[in-house]
Symmetry: C2
Subunit: 236 residues, 2 copies
DNA sequence: ATCGCTGCTGCCAGAATCTGACAGCAGGTT
DNA sequence: AACCTGCTGTCAGATTCTGGCAGCAGCGAT
């Protein structure tokens, strides 16, 4: 058995005991000498495992779990982060704090570019309707990641349809409705588009000339300025 | 630099390149021989990293990310799983599928006892009100984990208060309101209790005589039997 | 087809690391 | 005081890792 596998085993064994376990017992369980066990414990502590040893008693692992190395796709990471953000906004303060802590741990090991991707997935909570969107939001997310222009047909609240070419930079999640935030080329302004009112989505190869991150920042600033009224649902 | 750290570095370097990178380049980047690089690539592939090598071209890493070993508390894991379950129920099918995949990967490496804990946190989506609960749900979660009785004061829809001693076994999340599901000793039946109507929460040391998992199963079965009417909001 | 580049595997000796045993100290329980 | 336990240092042997070499196969360009 490899050393790394043995370390995970050790954590699992510790998890199964609430009372202190002596090093001798642990060493026998994983089949190594007591000396090596001490080294393993030290390694685990170095990796952040909350193991405590007390002389005369033994070792205890604070409730928790060590996740082994896992491979996630971008979308899976995005789903986890989005879900955790939602939990972090729930009224259950304890669980919300736990979600925030978990997010911080994940964010700490994420490469910068992926962290930027996640910033483009804003989480907003508010009242929403039940309509399910017919379009493939994967295309929208890809366009945001690649900073490419996106074409589609938009039907506004009044039912009037219009053709749009936009620079998408964020996807917001209301309770039931997804909203894409973008710079609209036709209107020369920020607009947001309800996903359930979009159709005929067309990904283009044309990169738009601005940085996604900068636009997001600018859009947020525009939201804070009540006089300007910020972005509005695209009807104009 | 340790081998494990080097492997993570290797993934990071691969992430930064979209075009194929030759093994020679990678080997120089991490400071090892080409032979060792081949071994490292093989190890990573063995751990599930989607690295592909083509003769005459080089290596490409499919978009994704390898999470290094991370330590989470029980509550942090619970928050992540709950959030992912929420995402998995969203109308955005692509992201929902990603959330389900991520959950499967996490569940695969979770010890059984922790998985049971998570089953006790049911996710239900439906209309809810805005009331924030005043009690500490951490106590409820702890009681569920320990399978211990819980005492509290409950105010029903009509405003009448009653003292309760229950065997809690699940915590359900509606959109805005948390609901505890438990066997009520006084009423000798399953009941669910809105967290915002509970007060004076008292954790006891008394273990209740049934297994949490069995009660959860029985409760779910009772929900499917319309004649019995299942558990109701505790007013009787 | 030929050439060059690359991925991939087997082999082997030296380097690096891991491991077990022993000794000794400190802190806690009985 | 006696005992158990955590923890550290040291050192030789076992194990693993590493680099160099050789050879085969697939791909693209000439």
């Amino acid at each position: 058995m490899s050393r790394s596998a043995r370390l995970l085993d050790l954590v699992q064994i510790l998890r199964r005991h609430r009372r202190p376990v002596s090093g001798r017992t642990l060493a026998d369980a994983i089949g190594v000498s007591i000396r090596t066990l001490y080294r393993d414990i030290a390694t685990l502590q170095g990796q952040g495992a909350p193991i405590e040893g007390e002389a005369g008693l033994g070792y205890v692992l604070k409730p928790g779990f060590m996740l082994p190395p896992l491979m996630f796709t971008d979308e899976e990471i995005e789903a986890i982060v989005l879900g955790s953000r939602w939990v972090a906004k729930q009224p259950d303060k304890r669980l919300a704090a736990a979600a925030a802590d978990a997010l911080a741990k994940i964010a700490a090991v994420l490469p910068d570019d992926l962290r930027d991707d996640l910033d483009a997935t804003t989480l907003l909570v508010g009242p929403g309707s039940e309509n399910a969107e017919a379009i493939d939001l994967g295309i929208v997310r890809q366009a945001i990641r690649d900073e490419r222009k996106l074409g589609f047909l938009y039907r506004d609240a009044g039912g009037a349809a219009s053709k749009r070419l936009v620079w998408p930079f964020a996807l917001a999640f209301f309770d039931k409705v997804r909203v894409m935030v973008a710079w609209c080329e036709t209107r020369q302004d920020f607009r947001h588009f309800r996903a359930d009112r979009m159709s005929g989505l067309t990904a283009t190869d044309i990169r738009y000339p601005r940085r996604r991150h900068a636009m997001l920042k600018e859009w947020r600033a525009s939201l804070d300025a009540p006089g300007r009224n910020g972005a509005k649902d695209a009807s104009g």
